[in-house]
């Protein structure tokens, strides 16, 4: 635990120091040069703009897209980025223009203007319309993400044979791991899928910290927690859903991988709601098999493995009597 491990020559160390000296330099400059403050604001705002524009090119950007709705969410994000970016450039540009001018022309004085109705109208109505656009355009995406669309396989009441989820599984959080339980895909449809979350069956497959699926699978997740609030977060899926003590929270996703992927894809599952000291260690994996056949091979192997032992590997939270 020594300081020697820290690389003082890395840009992360010397750049902030350079910026500090630069700031002090601008202050000194402002004693002689009336536009030093214009320079301070301009360089700072140009800096944050440059970082935003450059980030995607150095790998500091959105994670890969891995679910049926991730592209839709990203497009919404980019639309908002574009609109807010325009307003950012417009308003900051106006401030910088004022700072550049900073004084009326010699011989003139500031005008005693107290307001202007037409201007007020313009800058109320134009942002209002754009905000209304953002509000309306996101509603279908939200409804779809939350299973409020036409997907009957997400219905709370029944699973009809043709419309049932390809994979039904319960993920139960606890300090500090994810307990996963799969319903046998060949088992008959359920009258009340949500109830299965609290009523395990003998044919269920149990696992810890790993969720397996395959591209295009309709995965229905029933989220529960044993102790505190956790949040099931897979950045690539653009999926984040809290687990509430005492409730079963349903959610879903359909994983996608780039065409031609022949290996397993492993994405990390992170907990996104503070759940105690080891919150940061509540790490799991979402394993996307290349196709349905390889998923089924994995499933049958795991199921055989489990039945070879006399009891499920874990009889913890799920077996806990719900009274």
């Amino acid at each position: 635990m020594t300081t020697q491990q820290i690389d003082l020559s890395e840009w992360t160390f010397w750049l902030p120091i350079a910026f500090t000296i630069f700031g002090i330099g601008l202050f000194i400059l402002s004693r002689f040069w009336t536009r030093a403050w214009f320079a301070t604001f301009t360089l700072t705002i140009a800096g944050v703009t440059a970082l935003t524009v450059a980030s995607p090119f150095v790998g500091w950007w959105l994670p890969a897209q891995g679910s049926s709705f991730s592209g839709e969410v990203d497009n919404l994000f980019l639309l908002i980025m574009f609109l807010t970016g325009l307003f950012f450039l417009l308003t900051e540009g106006l401030i910088l223009f004022v700072l550049w001018n900073h004084a009326p022309k010699p011989g003139t004085a500031p005008l005693p203007i107290h307001g202007d109705h037409r201007l007020e109208l313009i800058w109320t109505v134009v942002p209002g319309i754009l905000l209304a656009l953002i509000a309306v355009i996101q509603m279908p995406t939200w409804a779809r993400m939350k299973g409020q669309g036409n997907e009957s396989w997400l219905s709370a009441r029944y699973e009809s044979g043709g419309d049932k989820a390809d994979l039904l599984l319960t993920v139960q959080g606890r300090q500090w791991e994810w307990r996963v339980r799969y319903r046998d895909p060949s088992a008959p449809p359920l009258a009340r899928p949500l109830e299965w979350a609290t009523h395990p069956e003998a044919s269920d497959l149990h696992a810890v910290n790993e969720v397996h699926a395959y591209p295009g699978a309709k995965v229905r997740l029933l989220l529960r927690t044993q102790d505190v609030i956790h949040s099931f977060f897979v950045p690539e899926l653009r999926l984040k859903q809290d687990m509430l003590p005492g409730r079963t929270v349903p959610t879903w996703f359909i994983p996608t991988v780039p065409a031609g992927t022949s290996n397993e894809t492993r994405w990390e599952i992170a907990c996104a709601e503070l759940c105690g000291g080891n919150h940061y260690r509540m790490r799991g994996h979402l394993v996307i098999h290349p196709d349905k056949a390889s998923f089924e091979t994995w499933y049958s192997t795991a199921a055989r493995e489990q039945s070879r032992r006399s009891r499920p590997p874990e009889t913890g939270p799920l077996a806990r009597k719900t009274n």
Binding site: M1, T2, T3, I6, T12, F13, P16, F19, T20, F22, S30, T40, F41, I45, G47, W60, W61, L62, P63, L76, F77, I80, L83, F87, T91, E92, V98, N101, H102, A103, P104, P110, L111, P112, H114, G115, W123, L131, A135, Q138, Q175, T225, D227, V228, S231, P235, K240, D242, L244, P245, G246, R247, E268, A272, L274, G276, G277, H279, Y280, P317
Partner: protein
């Protein structure tokens, strides 16, 4: 009952030291008391923030770095930590950083210090409507100060469940009646003290806000109609209304959680109970989600409580330093009122991913989208105010300009959170941390700095050093952006907040260099703040003597001596006009104060 408009203060100032400076009923002294306690807590909150940054930037070396710089800490570090900061200790650091900064720095500084000091002066009153209640509102902070400071030293340490204190992590209790929590080491006695402390802060703020509302409604000088009040007073009035409506639910929620914690009630425990390892609680009778609704019903308006006063003060400061009238006075007031009104129906946007009904989410989304509009209106009016002005680059003006230019970033990044599908992705990532710091650090705190530079001469009769102030501003502005802007990028990459060691995750590894950059920037940012502290305390003794009106401003407060005597005004002022008559041909300068007749010398 006495008439409401009577002045309760007598003409003779109290003579004893205690009644004059300690148990004072004078609004100016109480304001200054709030001012100094906020500065002290700013130091504590800042130190906690630096420790948080150190851990996130250098997860392996944080403790080594710390003991390298402060060798005396070596003997105080528990051996079981094994050379690294413990993860539980880290949860305590960010919890207490947020709690201290929100409840002991920003809110008391804005409403307690400036609210108390400025309201009576700006409306021409001799004091607050209820001076004793006012004194009590400050002295109710002291049990809170003591509890929050003591909580660091109790068994288990200070609260470590996040400033949002979500049950069941925060509220789970053991059967044997002690306060140790089965859920987290830092949810024991320290968290009980945290709850008690916040209750005292809440009651203090409630007393203050009732006092402010009454004072503004009843104690205005003749001629000071509502539409002649400076925006600072409007902002503080609207903030006080927000506080008086939002604080009771928070206090109730805090009491409920305290009872859950200590008396065995189960307001936030679900019917099935919860289990920790081998220990299972009994059946409960409530819901964890209930806390989130109650908490955010206060804590979302609290965000506006922390920004509205700064908005008002920055408006008044910018006007004085660009020598032009405020653009759109009434739209400014109406948009603040709209923010306050809408502020009560947007709390659900903190809960889009919580398991709340998604249709409810749509309603909260619409309200959240709407609240962006008044913020946009305010921004455009500020721009129009400085447009064509004769700008004086004083320390106060620079900080005010920083407020406006950074509030734009904080406001625009909020629109991402109003879009439900995008918010779900960004929820509890660093994008949120970036947003809140652009609103609270780069806006509220810059607003506070601006207001401090601007009203300091009135408070203490001496000016702060302009050179030191501007030397403080330039690196602070740059480094604050270095510290907080990259957090947006981290959030876009999916970096969860409150992670003790992000290097455990493969998808976060590319971002670790940014984390180190932000940590170094944060440490330098912290060091630069010493200039401000030196300026505040040094100027008390060595500052240039201030005249009545050092900035040639219009407000009534500049009609009094600096500092104003007990009772404020020699003669009750007669107000003739609004506070924004700049760029006019006044009798001796470019402005007309609120009391000057046209031909009078200022």
């Amino acid at each position: 009952m006495s008439a409401p408009v009577s002045h309760h203060t007598d003409d003779h100032a109290p003579s004893g030291f205690l009644s004059r400076y300690v148990f004072s009923k004078d609004h100016k002294v109480i304001g200054i008391q709030f001012f100094f306690s906020s500065i002290l807590f700013l130091l504590l909150g800042g130190a906690l923030a630096l420790l948080v940054r150190l851990q996130v930037g250098y997860p392996e070396q944080a403790l080594g770095l710390l003991t390298y710089c402060f060798p005396f800490l070596q003997s105080r570090i528990p051996a079981e930590w094994g050379g690294r900061m413990s993860p539980e200790f880290y949860t305590m650091l960010f919890t207490m950083h947020a709690s201290v900064m929100i409840f002991f720095v920003i809110i008391p500084w804005l409403t307690g210090a400036f609210g108390n000091f400025l309201i009576p002066l700006m409306i021409g009153a001799r004091d607050m409507a209820f001076p004793t209640l006012n004194m009590l509102s400050y002295w109710f902070m002291w049990p809170a100060f003591i509890c929050i400071c003591a909580s660091f030293f109790v068994d288990g340490g200070a609260s470590g469940v996040g400033w949002t204190a979500y049950p069941t992590l925060s509220s789970a209790a053991t059967a044997n009646g002690d306060w140790a929590s089965p859920a987290a080491r830092h949810a024991g006695a320290g968290h009980v003290l945290w709850l008690i402390s916040l209750m005292f802060v809440g009651v203090s703020s409630l007393m203050g806000s009732i006092n402010y509302i009454t004072t503004v409604i009843h104690c205005r000088a003749p001629g000071m109609s509502l539409w002649r009040m400076p925006l600072t007073v409007w902002a503080l009035l609207i903030t006080a209304i927000l506080q008086s409506v939002a604080l009771p639910p928070l206090t109730v929620a805090l009491i409920m959680q305290l009872l859950d914690k200590t008396a065995g009630t189960t307001f936030f425990l679900p019917p099935g109970g919860v289990g920790f390892g081998n220990w299972t609680t009994g059946p409960g009778g409530g819901q964890p989600l209930l806390w989130q609704h109650l908490f955010w019903f206060y804590s979302h308006p609290a965000v506006y409580i922390m920004i509205l006063p700064a908005m008002g003060m920055v408006s008044d400061i910018m006007v004085a330093f660009c020598r032009k009238p405020l653009f759109g006075y009434k739209p400014m007031v109406f948009s603040m009122a709209a923010i306050a009104g809408l502020g009560f129906i947007v709390w659900g946007h903190h809960m889009f991913q919580s398991g709340m009904d998604p249709r409810l989410g749509t309603g909260f989304m619409l309200a959240t989208i709407m609240i962006a509009l008044p913020s946009a209106i305010k921004t455009f009016n500020w721009l129009a105010t400085i447009w064509g002005g004769d700008i004086v680059f004083s320390s106060a003006m620079l900080n005010a300009l920083a407020f406006v230019s950074m509030f734009i970033i904080g406001g625009l990044s909020g629109i991402f959170m109003a879009a439900t599908p995008v918010d779900v992705v960004f929820h509890d990532t660093y994008f949120i941390v970036a947003h809140i710091h652009y609103v609270l650090f780069l806006s509220s705190l810059f607003g506070i700095y601006a207001a401090t530079y601007y009203w300091y001469p009135k408070m203490f009769g001496r000016c702060m050093s302009e050179n030191l102030g501007q030397l403080h501003f330039a690196p602070t502005f740059i480094l604050a952006n270095c510290t907080f802007y990259p957090m947006h990028i981290l959030g876009i990459g999916g970096h969860p907040r409150r992670y003790y060691d992000p290097t455990l995750y493969e998808f976060l590894l590319p971002f670790q260099s940014l984390n180190r950059f932000m940590t170094v920037s944060a440490v330098l940012l912290g060091l630069v703040q010493i200039l401000f502290i030196v300026n505040v305390f040094g100027s008390l003794f060595w500052g240039k003597k201030a005249s009545r009106n050092p900035w040639n401003s219009n407000g009534l407060e500049w009609d009094t001596p600096s500092p104003p005597p007990h009772g404020n005004f020699d003669v009750t002022p007669l107000v003739l006009r609004g506070p924004y008559e700049y760029a006019v041909t006044g009798p001796s300068s470019d402005h007309l104060t609120q009391t000057q007749t046209e031909g009078q010398q200022s």
